[in-house]
Amino acid sequence: MLQNSAHDTPGRRDVVSFRVAEQDFCIDIGVVREIRGWTPTTVLPHSQDYVKGVVNLRGSVVAVVDLSARLGFGPTEPSARHIIIIVMIGDQTIGLLADVVSDILTIDDTAMRQVPDIASEVARDFISKVVTFDDGRMLRKIDLARVLPELGVELA
């Protein structure tokens, strides 16, 4: 850890952590554009069940993915307290529906662990690393590339 702290940024990264279905997840802060409150979506026909629909983000049409449904926890019944994390992946702008944003954390790369071999579960496919903390909390890092690519492909 001491060795790494000499090189500061390369070994460390900032993440945004948030809660979905009582579990803590995080994504790289670099892809996050903004976080906004829930607004009703317009349903997209023929879409996957985890696509909540589209919202108007200052003039562009942005699809919202229900992370809870996507990670296998079942669909969210969104309320005004839910939040949408707007992320940018490549040229695509996508909204992620989550329960609440908890924190912005700086995590050392060495703190990242491989996902333990647990029984196959949907969520595991989308979690690239886990981070544990001294207080017993655990952050699951989401692999956005796996969560989202099917949007365009399946529906094109």
């Binding site: 607004t39 317009t42 026909p45 023929h46 589209v54 049409v61 699809a63 529906l155």
Partner: protein, 763 residues
């Protein structure tokens, strides 16, 4: 990007403008009778000249060579030694096409078609030789000199037109012109003699060299010009025409044009006459030094002219006077001129060079080139502004503020401003159809050459403005339609003569705004659609069942059916596998429609109706299954709320509606999109009758039709992907998103088995 690259790009952009004005000018000359405007010839010449100059700067030798020969031929027309006969103009028009090809090749770094260029060069050469015997060294590019064909005595005598023109009382005005070139004028390769000759063509020109500025040889700076000219031009030309002679050198010389009062011009005081005749000596000196040499020797003559001329001028004055005597005489004359008319001579119309250029600019409004992306970004932002404003006003309403409160009033102001801004921004994107129409002239020429028919294209309404994207995407379908009209629409010459029509067929291309749409018509005066034949072919190709009863317009519409090509031999022109069906598809992709009218023996007219812009769609806001969606108005034939008696069920789920004797399948949009709530088995009975490309009809069932409105189109695919049956999205006044339905896809995907071939429905 390096500076040179940028220059290159701007050169080619300029070339496009120049080629446009070249094409315009040439057409104007060939359309007009012989009394065409000399200014048109000048502008054509200038266009070619500027292209040549620019091409020279970039070392585009092929282009330079061609432009030079082209220019040589044009120059002969300019000085009247060549008449714009039909043959000449045809060659020139083709040369114009070739020039634009060469520019294109140079821009893309492609090789030009050497054979065609050589052939065209030979044709131009022949023209140049035929009309003029002196100038046949056209391949040598001499950047500094306009090639001037010899004229008898162009400077000191009147120009030929002016002297046989109307008498002095017929609008002849005398101008006094002071012309003092700066060093930069010579530095940029301009030649005062050429300007003087151009002036001489406008009327009766007297030239007085002002040699006052000449310094003794000891203090002589060869880089600085020392000569100026005082000119007196009696002409019926306008001030603008005179100034246009100096167009290229306006900022390279001090130019002062004054209109002399009539009384003064009719009779210059006797004392002044002497002065002037005394001064005529040097003036004639000028003309005689240069003109007897005929075509100017290429090379150094022009740049060194000031020095040489000064020296020779002294001789011309008889050698009696020293170079210092000249200024004295002239200064004296200057004084006497002024003294002669203390008040009246005060220039009424005096214009310095600078205002002059402003005048020329006023004729053609100033423009700037802006990257299209910037305009689009602006349009997007404005679109958002409008939406935000709508959201805000809704918020104000929900907040329960009085409608006369300050907030509401301010909001109303913003609303007006926003819609004003939106309109102006849309206007930026709107471009006249002219460039597209201009390209069609060439298509016509080529098509006419290929078919051996004589064709004339008449365009009207080319100032009609349409969204730029529409314009770009209009070129292909229009090209095809024009070719189609030449190839299929017009009869061959023999048939035309037999039918008592003029040999030359006419194709009319017109555009106009009509009720929020742009209507473009392509009509020919050919034989009209041979419906018997169309029918035969359609039956032979299995497009319609034999003996099907079809109305005339249904037969006409067969032309748009995929797989229909009426030409028996596949010609090089149309019939390349692209049919009118492709045209129809492309126009429909633009949100437009194509229709066809034909009268036997009189011709055929294709009418394209297009939306003004692609960014905005005229649509109907409908609601079904709790969702709002927009249906493009262009697809909707009619809306109906039929009585239950006219709706029949077929099978377990299928429903049809009987409408004017036609059975139309009903598609429930909520079901088609899979958004019907479970247990919702309402039979929606608000129907929107739509027709798709293949002529298939369907009635789309919805819960409510809200209203008809213009919506701003937002892409779905950018952030999500394509959805079957949905073409795009839009944002409603409350900030929510509504999807735009693609009826075409709905019909095809919701009921692929619909058995309605386009025209059998009436059986």
């Amino acid at each position: 990007m390096s500076g040179l690259d940028e220059l290159r790009i701007s050169f080619f952009q300029e070339c496009e403008d120049l080629l446009d004005s070249l094409g315009d000018g040439l057409r104007e000359i060939s359309d007009g009778d012989l009394g065409h405007d000399m200014e048109t010839v000048h502008s054509v010449f200038r266009a070619v000249h500027s292209i040549k100059g620019g091409a020279g700067a970039f070392g585009l030798d092929g282009l330079v060579t061609f432009a030079h020969l082209f220019e040589t031929v044009l120059d002969q027309m300019r000085c009247g030694s060549m008449e714009p006969t039909d043959g000449v103009m045809r060659t020139l028009l083709r040369a114009g096409d070739m020039l634009s090809d060469l520019v294109g090749c140079a821009r893309d770094g492609r090789e030009a078609d050497g054979d065609r260029v050589t052939q065209m060069l030979a044709e131009l050469d022949a023209l140049a030789d035929g009309a003029d015997e002196d100038d046949d060294t056209p391949f040598e590019f001499v950047p500094t000199i306009l090639s001037v064909a010899p004229m008898d005595d162009p400077v000191s005598n009147a120009g030929p037109e002016a002297s046989d023109g109307p008498g002095p009382d017929a609008g002849i005005v005398v101008y006094r012109i002071d012309f003092k070139p700066r060093g930069a004028l010579y530095g940029t390769g301009n030649e005062p003699l050429a300007l003087l000759k151009a002036l001489a063509q406008l009327g009766d020109l007297e030239i007085q060299a002002d040699i006052a500025g000449i310094v003794p040889l000891t203090g002589f700076d060869e880089a600085e010009p020392h000569l100026a000219w005082g000119l007196r031009l009696a002409t019926d030309a306008t001030m603008e025409e005179i100034l246009s002679v100096f167009e290229f050198v306006a900022d390279l010389a001090e130019i002062d044009v004054d209109r002399m009062p009539r009384s003064d011009t009719a009779h210059l005081g006797p004392d002044l006459d002497d002065g002037i005749s005394a001064l005529k000596a040097p003036a004639q000196g000028v003309s005689h030094i240069k003109t007897p040499e005929g075509p100017l020797p290429p090379g150094p003559a022009a740049p060194t002219a000031p020095a040489e001329m000064a020296a020779i001028l002294v001789d011309a004055q008889g050698g009696a006077e020293t170079s210092r005597a000249g200024p004295a005489v002239l200064a004296l004359a200057e004084e006497s001129t002024l003294g002669n008319d203390p008040g009246g001579q005060a220039p009424q119309n005096s214009r310095k060079a600078k205002p002059a250029t402003e005048t020329t600019l006023a004729a053609a409004p100033a423009t700037i080139r802006v990257n299209l992306d910037r305009v689009d970004r602006l349009i997007n932002l404005i679109g958002e502004l409008v939406i935000m404003e709508a959201m805000l006003s809704q918020a104000v309403e929900t907040a329960g503020l009085a409608s006369n409160s300050d907030v509401s009033n301010g909001l109303d102001g913003i609303k007006q401003l926003a819609s004003g801004i939106q309109e102006s921004v849309m206007a930026i994107r709107a471009q006249p159809l002219k460039p597209v129409f201009q390209r069609m002239h060439r298509i016509i020429r080529e098509a006419a050459d290929a078919t051996g028919k004589q064709v004339r294209l008449v365009t009207t309404g080319d100032a009609t403005e349409v969204d730029k994207t529409v314009i770009e995407r209009l070129v292909d379908p229009l090209t095809h339609m024009i070719r189609n009209s030449v190839d299929h629409g017009l009869e061959d010459t023999a048939t035309r003569i037999a039918a008592g029509k003029p040999e030359t067929g006419t194709i009319t291309l017109s555009a106009a705004h009509r009720s929020g749409r742009v209507i473009i018509e392509v009509s020919d005066d050919g034989g009209g659609i041979n419906r018997e034949k169309v029918r035969e072919i359609a039956e032979a190709r299995g497009l319609i069942p034999p003996g099907a009863s079809l109305s005339l317009s249904e037969i006409d519409n067969l032309l748009f059916t995929p797989g229909f090509s009426s030409k028996e031999q596949v010609s090089a022109l149309s019939g390349r596998g692209i049919g009118l069906d492709v045209v129809r598809r492309e126009i429909q992709a633009l949100g437009g429609r194509v229709t066809i009218q034909s009268a036997a023996g009189e011709g055929t007219t294709f009418t394209i109706a297009l939306p003004l812009t692609l960014a905005v769609l005229e649509g109907m806001l409908v609601e079904f299954g709790g969702e709002m969606m927009v249906l493009p108005l262009s697809a909707i034939l009619e809306t109906l709320r039929p009585s239950s008696a006219t709706i029949h069920s077929i099978g377990r789920t299928g429903r049809v509606v009987a409408n004017r004797g036609e059975l139309i399948p009903i598609i429930d949009l909520a079901e088609a999109f899979g958004i019907a709530r479970p247990g919702d088995d309402t039979e929606r009975d608000v129907l929107l009758l739509v027709e798709c490309e293949a002529g298939r009809r369907a009635a789309l069932a919805v819960d409510i039709i809200h209203d008809q409105r213009q919506v701003v189109i937002k892409s779905l695919e950018e952030n999500y992907g394509a959805i079957p049956g949905i073409s795009a999205a839009t944002i409603l006044g409350d900030g929510r998103i509504a999807l735009i339905v693609d009826p075409e896809e709905i019909i095809v995907s919701a009921a692929p088995e619909l058995p309605t071939p386009p025209l059998a429905a009436n059986e």
